[in-house]
Structures are given as structure tokens and as C-alpha cells.
């Protein structure tokens, strides 16, 4: 039993090794947090400001900006996470990846470490979106338990999309190709989801796609937990189960593919 707990402890140490290196980088250059705050601000202030005056988007409390905020939170998490793939290619080109791959750390620990690192960035994004939402007078739920749950969901979503991005990086292998495909991937994930409009108003074919899109479940859960008086459409249990399951599958795939990037 002792060796099992030691094994788990070692495993956690190796995940944290990767994640805390990322935190150090963020600490040395926090400007990224600020530049990344621009995009959600534009979406909330400009897009949200205009769309609030469009009637016909049926949201539960009738305020579009409230509806939009969790969607934009999920979006900024997605956009930050999707660039993990390009960072991975960059690390491979530099040689930093070799350092990870010749270490005895299990490959899944390295993949999870990257996912944790993405979660750290995702959480910094969440703080920014919460501050923006607060300034815009959005009815934020400040129940500490719900805030904690939002944190967990952000971490899960960041991990999921960054691992997805890592897999894409393993497939396309070069920065140039990744740049091209990154846009092609993030836009459909974003627009074919419930982030900026409810699923109910979509045409049936799009509804089907968005129900297969993990971002929809991330947004659904965030909407229930971030806004006061809002409930989840699919059920929080379903949201979490779907996200955890997809994350688990992606980690399993990435664990097999990541080491091959060095060759």
C-alpha cells in the first residue's frame, strides 16, 4: 500500500513539475494575461452591446448580456487552450521537448502536466471575464461553492481543449500547418455551440452538431454556475460526465502520440 501511495505521490510531483514551470513563465511575463483580456472585452462590450438590442434571442431572464458572459468565458478558455498545440511544436523545435521525453516521468503525467498548465492560464482568463462581467452589471452568482465549481469547470475545459490541441499538433507537426488549422478548428467549435445563442434557435442539423460539441456542455454548466438564478439545460451531472469522459479519451490518445513528436 505504501508503494502505491508513493507511486501516486510521484505521479503528482511529475504533473506539478510541468504545471509549475508554466506558472513560473506566467509570473515572469504576465503581459499575456492583459493582452488576452482584450478579446473577451470586445465580445462583451461591442458584440454584446449591440446584440442586446436584438429581440428574438430568447434567454431565460431576458438579458442577452447575461446569457453571453458565460459563453465568452468558455470562448476565452477555448482560445487560450487551443494554442497549446503550437507551444508544443515550438518546444519540439527548440529541443525542450527532448528534456521531457528523456525523463522517466510517465508520458501521461507529462500530458496531464500540460493540461494543468493550461488550466492555470484558463483560470487567469476567468478572473478577467469575471471582472469584466462585474463591471458590466451582469447578475453574477457569488456563492463560493459555485465559484469553486466554475474554477473546476474552467480547469476541465482548458485541459480538454489543450489536450485536443496537443493531439492536432502531433498530427500536423509544423507550426505553419498548425496556424492554418487552428483557425479552422476554433471557429466551428465556437459557432457550433451554445456560447452566443441558445441551441433552440438553431436549425436541426446545427443543433445535432452542437450537441456533439464539448464546448456546449462547458457553456451550459458555466451558465448555471456563473449566473444568479440560472439553471443548466442538460443537467450539471451530464455536463461534467461528458467533459470528463472526453478529456479522459483525449489524454489517452495524447499519451500515445506525444512521445512520437521527438522523432
Amino acid at each position: 500500500m505504501d508503494s502505491l501511495t508513493n507511486g501516486i505521490k510521484d505521479y503528482a510531483t511529475e504533473i506539478l513539475a510541468v504545471a509549475s514551470a508554466e506558472m513560473s513563465k506566467l509570473k515572469h511575463d504576465p503581459s499575456e494575461i492583459l493582452t488576452r483580456a482584450i478579446q473577451p472585452a470586445i465580445w462583451l462590450v461591442l458584440f454584446g452591446g449591440v446584440m442586446s438590442h436584438v429581440s428574438g434571442i430568447a434567454t431565460s431572464n431576458g438579458r442577452y448580456l447575461d446569457f453571453l458572459a458565460p459563453g465568452i468565458l468558455a470562448q476565452s478558455v477555448l482560445f487560450a487552450a487551443i494554442f497549446y498545440g503550437i507551444a508544443a511544436i515550438w518546444e519540439r523545435d527548440l529541443g525542450v521537448l527532448h528534456r521531457y521525453m528523456v525523463s522517466p516521468a510517465p508520458r501521461s503525467a507529462l500530458v496531464l502536466g500540460k493540461a494543468f498548465a493550461a488550466a492555470v492560464r484558463g483560470l487567469s482568463q476567468a478572473v478577467v471575464v469575471y471582472l469584466l462581467s462585474f463591471a458590466l452589471g451582469i447578475a453574477i452568482d457569488l456563492n463560493p461553492l459555485h465559484l469553486l465549481a466554475v474554477g473546476v469547470l474552467i480547469a476541465l475545459g482548458s485541459g480538454l481543449f489543450s489536450t485536443f490541441s496537443l493531439i492536432i499538433a502531433c498530427i500536423v507537426k509544423t507550426r505553419e500547418r498548425f496556424m492554418g488549422i487552428g483557425q479552422v478548428l476554433t471557429m466551428p467549435i465556437f459557432f457550433a455551440s451554445n456560447a452566443i445563442y441558445p441551441i433552440d434557435i438553431m436549425p436541426p442539423w446545427l443543433r445535432t452538431i452542437s450537441l456533439a460539441n464539448p464546448l456546449s456542455y462547458e457553456v451550459d454548466a458555466l451558465r448555471a454556475l456563473m449566473l444568479a438564478g440560472e439553471t443548466s439545460k442538460f443537467g450539471l451531472g451530464v455536463d461534467c460526465a461528458v467533459l470528463v469522459m472526453i478529456f479522459a479519451i483525449l489524454v489517452a490518445i495524447a499519451t500515445r502520440m506525444y512521445p512520437r513528436m521527438t522523432t
Binding site: A17, R99, T255, T262
Partner: protein, 299 residues
């Protein structure tokens, strides 16, 4: 994931005993498995499709020696190194490094070797100290020893004054020393280095050489390097192996190899004799661009 994850954890604790970095200082660098060479391969081969890149290499590196693998670009050095560091599985043949089988115990091999790739492997966005901390954690150096090990490594490499500066501000020689420190923090039985001084000026190069010798003398580390600089091969290495077209053509001390050719022969003569006019044909643009890039990064 749960299956692979638990398997990983299982592997982690099964390998926990040998994987624990044991302090080899003062033990004279005793091999982990007695009666074998720290690096030993039999018929080790690698093919990509039909192209044979490493061809039945029988390599034996002795305890505490600095062994240099020389050969022209495209001779198979990098592929051989990738197999010895478990980054690539062999097509055929076997190998043991630090007493562990390359294909059956890759994780144990990784736990007992250090590897300094030719490319820049320190993370420029982290400080020297943070780079070392990352390695200390990845190699599971016990928490209570981490600080001491890192301090020792910084002192040994002369980087203690620059520990809190970002690695991207380091000079080429300092980066190389940082990378060596990162790769030896867990006191590996075998240290493998790909072109350790490429792109360094003579002063920085001499410091790195001294440092490599110091590691051997102090910790009994067995060191395997690749190089294409004959000066380095002659000055630093106890024995040399010449790789050509994937085959290990010659092995011997620099003196032995030179004596074979004639009384006033140099290592360049030896190299030319083995490689002949093929010296210019190997390699590809990727090779060249990698070398240039890492020269630039280190220079």
C-alpha cells in the same frame, strides 16, 4: 485513460526502487548491473522504410570513460543516440544502458541516464534555478534533497550568481552548462551528449570540457558524446568509435587509431581514411538547419 493512467502509476511504483536517483558520489561509479558495460549494444539496427540508418552496431562503452562517437553528417549518430536514450525503438538488435534493457525497461533506462540534446533544451522563459527545479521534480529527487542538489549543481557549473536570471539571457556556454547540470542532477550512471560544444567559442568550450571531465572524476559518470570536431575527439575522449553509413567501422583510443595509419598521422587522417570521399555526401538540409540553429542558439 483510467486504464492507462493506473498502468502508468503501477509502472511508476514498480520502477520506483531502481528509478530512485541514488547518490553515487564516492562509490566510484559502480555499475548498476555488475559484469556489464554501462553502454552495450548487440546488432543494434534502425531502418526507416527500406533505408538502413544504423546497421548492426556492437558498441561497448566502459565504466568511467569518455567515449566519442564520430562520423560525418548522416552517419547515423543521431539515430543511434535516439535509440540509446529510448526516444526511438530499434528495428532489430538489443542494447543495455546503465544496466537496463532498451526495449524492455525504457523507463528504468531513462531514470539512470542523463541526456543533453544538440538542440537547446533549457527553457529560455525560465530562470536557471527554475530549469533545475523542473528537472529535479521530473526525476523525483526527494523534496528534502532538491535544494541542496540544485545548489551543488549551480556551484559546480559556476552558475550560482546567475541562477535567478532567465535562461534566455545566458551566453551559449552558460546554457550548455545549465543543460549539463539539468541532465546530471539525478546523478545518472551514463551521460549522453549530442555535440556538446558545437557553436561555442574556444574559452566556453574549454570550460565545458573541464566540466565533463569533472563529472567523470567526481561522480564516476560514464560519458558518451557525439562530435564531428576532431580536436574535441582527441582532447576530450578516452576512446573513439567511428560511425560511417550506419556501421561502427573502428573503435580505439585516439593514439591507437592514429598509430594504425602511420607515425605522424592525425585524427583527421584517420577520419578521412575511414570515411573516404563520402564525407561530403551525408546529411540533409534538415540536419544543416538544425546544426545552424543550435549553433546560433549556443553561440
Amino acid at each position: 485513460m483510467f486504464i492507462s493512467l493506473s498502468a502508468d502509476i503501477g509502472e511508476n511504483f514498480r520502477a520506483a526502487e531502481p528509478a530512485r536517483p541514488n547518490d553515487r558520489a564516492g562509490q566510484g561509479g559502480v555499475s548498476h548491473a555488475t559484469g556489464t558495460f554501462p553502454v552495450e549494444t548487440r546488432g543494434l539496427s534502425k531502418s526507416f522504410d527500406a533505408r538502413v540508418v544504423v546497421d548492426h552496431v556492437d558498441l561497448q562503452v566502459r565504466e568511467r570513460e569518455i567515449f566519442g562517437l564520430i562520423g560525418p553528417n548522416g552517419a547515423g549518430k543521431s539515430t543511434l543516440i535516439k535509440m540509446l536514450t529510448t526516444l526511438l525503438p530499434p528495428t532489430s538488435g538489443t542494447g543495455r544502458v546503465a544496466g537496463y534493457d532498451l526495449t524492455r525497461e525504457p523507463k528504468a533506462v531513462r531514470a539512470h541516464i542523463g541526456y543533453v540534446p544538440q538542440l537547446l533544451s533549457a527553457d529560455g522563459a525560465l530562470t536557471g534555478y527554475e530549469n533545475l527545479l523542473l528537472s529535479a521534480r521530473l526525476y523525483l529527487i526527494p523534496r528534502e534533497e532538491r535544494a541542496q542538489r540544485i545548489q551543488d549543481a549551480l556551484k559546480l557549473t559556476g552558475l550560482d550568481a546567475s541562477a535567478d536570471r532567465l535562461a534566455q539571457q545566458y551566453s551559449g556556454g552558460m546554457l550548455r552548462r545549465l543543460e549539463i547540470a539539468q541532465s546530471t542532477l539525478h546523478r545518472p550512471a551514463v551521460l549522453i551528449m549530442d555535440e556538446p560544444t558545437v557553436g561555442l567559442d574556444p574559452v566556453a568550450r574549454d570550460i565545458v570540457w573541464d566540466h565533463i571531465r569533472e563529472l567523470r572524476d567526481r561522480y564516476g559518470t560514464t560519458i558518451l558524446i557525439t562530435t564531428h570536431m576532431m580536436e574535441e575527439a582527441g582532447a576530450l575522449c578516452d576512446r573513439l568509435g567511428i560511425l560511417h553509413k550506419g556501421r561502427l567501422e573502428k573503435v580505439g583510443t585516439p593514439a591507437e587509431l592514429m598509430a594504425e595509419i602511420g607515425p605522424r598521422a592525425t585524427l583527421d587522417d584517420v577520419f578521412a581514411r575511414v570515411v573516404g570521399s563520402d564525407a561530403e555526401t551525408g546529411g540533409d538540409s534538415r540536419n544543416v538547419s538544425q546544426e545552424r540553429r543550435s549553433s546560433a542558439a549556443h553561440g
